[in-house]
Amino acid sequence: MYNTEILVIGGGPAGLKASLSAAEQGAAVTLIEREPHLGGQLVKQTHMFFGSREQYASERGFKIAEKLNKQVEAHPNINVMNNATALGYYDDGVVSLEVDKSFATINYKAMILATGAQENTLMFPNCDLPGIYGAGAVQTLMNVYGVVPGKRVAMIGAGNIGVIVSYQLLQTGVEVPAIIEALPEVGAYHVHASKVRRMGVPIYTTHTVLAAHGSAQVEKITFAEIDRNRQPVAGTTKELEVDVLCIAVGLTPLTEILFQAGCQMNFIAELGGHVPQRSDTFETTIPGIYIAGDVSGIEEASAAMVEGSIAGLAAAEKLGHGKEQYQAKLASARQELASLRNGPAGLVIRQGLEQLAETREVNS
């Protein structure tokens, strides 16, 4: 059995920041990551980040990952375990792991879950044909392994991920003949949409995919305009020859361990599904279990990093570390998070968090 003071599960932006902030307060941290490398989704992000200097604005995601990974690996208080997957949570709080293909267990005084999210998918005829990918897989192929997924890719979903991955496909020389979005408006930041549009990619809002066609793999898709009830409008069906269909229709928080641990969970559509109830320092209803990043609600990586910092500070403080600077550091991180969410782009998150706070009051 391994022992640690603070166990951080997940080495993406939230987990990296949580580890650093807890370690800087003096806590001993073990960071487990199922991939052979740290960075989470950051390593696939080739675009410059938004936000402010504090969240590395104008730097590319993979460069931010390099920076944070270096700091984490150099920190004497942080023990990194790559190729380590959390398997389950036992009644006594012990977490079981698969580490380099062997079984192990780990005990801790506080835990920060930064497990991130998984992609949503879409059901339509032939949705299981080879050549139909989630956007995360396309990014992993291209940006981690240097493999292009195909020659002509239709994208489903005009949120930030769909539009950013479309742009990355264009950068690798792959054609993107359409971005298809069921909602009446583009969910991505408009500047991202403008970027792909001026490269000639049409965006079809209020459209949906009807079916994929092909025998051994996808060869063609049909898509159509939809009405208010999300039903196809007669006479609007279009065909598109493509060898890849990429699906980017949102994310769902990866919450299995939280459910297993018995944390109070609430379904909040605005936050992406079931999310844990939490205090204002990201502690769940089980004392000593904290959350940060997409597992707490789907949001941008800049917010995930700040949440990680807050959870790391709070978990360390709970164990008696860094009491002196705690309040000042916490106040400044909270201010950062509030300002990221302050504008119209943060409205849905603010609404989701308000609903969550209301259920907290009802339940308490």
């Binding site: 104008s58 403008s194 300002s339």
Partner: protein, 160 residues
């Protein structure tokens, strides 16, 4: 509408365009940012006092064009690739347009390529005058294009 198509309206473009008099004075930054998102590096990178201080990180950039030197630092600091520099003093009937560029292979200097508008439609042939790495050294490039003056607010991309 930009929220449906990614293409800003003529009114939106007009709202970020400097006066004729200012354009006649030399290069100036055109910030085509129309959505309040949490992002402020244009302002923090501007050393000329052209992009005015943000009160809130979600503010839209406000410009004092008189202070703009056309240096282009903001082009490569904008994560949305939404900033361009237009210089209408280049020649009698041509303007220079600087655009951010993240595609390989890079065009050759003095190559003639196809200028594209905000919808990705072909507009006119343009000459690539300069290809520069971004001052931020962040793997972005800035292309300086020679564009017919009347199309300086149309051409925003190229096809090689």
């Amino acid at each position: 509408m930009i929220s449906r198509t990614g293409v800003p309206t003529a009114q939106q473009i007009a709202s970020v365009k400097p006066s004729k008099e200012r354009l006649a004075e030399g290069p100036v930054a055109i910030v085509e940012c129309f959505q309040e998102i949490p992002c402020d590096p244009c302002y923090t990178s501007c050393k000329s006092g052209c992009i005015l201080p943000f009160e809130d990180i979600n503010d839209l950039p406000q410009m004092d064009f008189d202070n703009c030197t056309g240096c282009g630092v903001c082009i490569s600091s904008c994560p949305g690739l939404a900033i361009f520099v237009v210089d209408e003093t280049y020649s009698e009937d041509e303007a220079l347009v600087k655009i951010p560029w993240e595609f390989a292979p890079l065009p050759e200097e003095s190559a003639v390529v196809t200028g594209l508008n905000r919808e990705g439609e072909e507009v006119c042939p343009v000459t690539v005058k300069k290809v520069r790495t971004s001052p931020k050294k962040n793997d972005a490039y800035i292309l300086t294009l020679v564009v017919p003056k009347e199309l300086a607010f149309e051409v925003r991309s190229i096809r090689i």
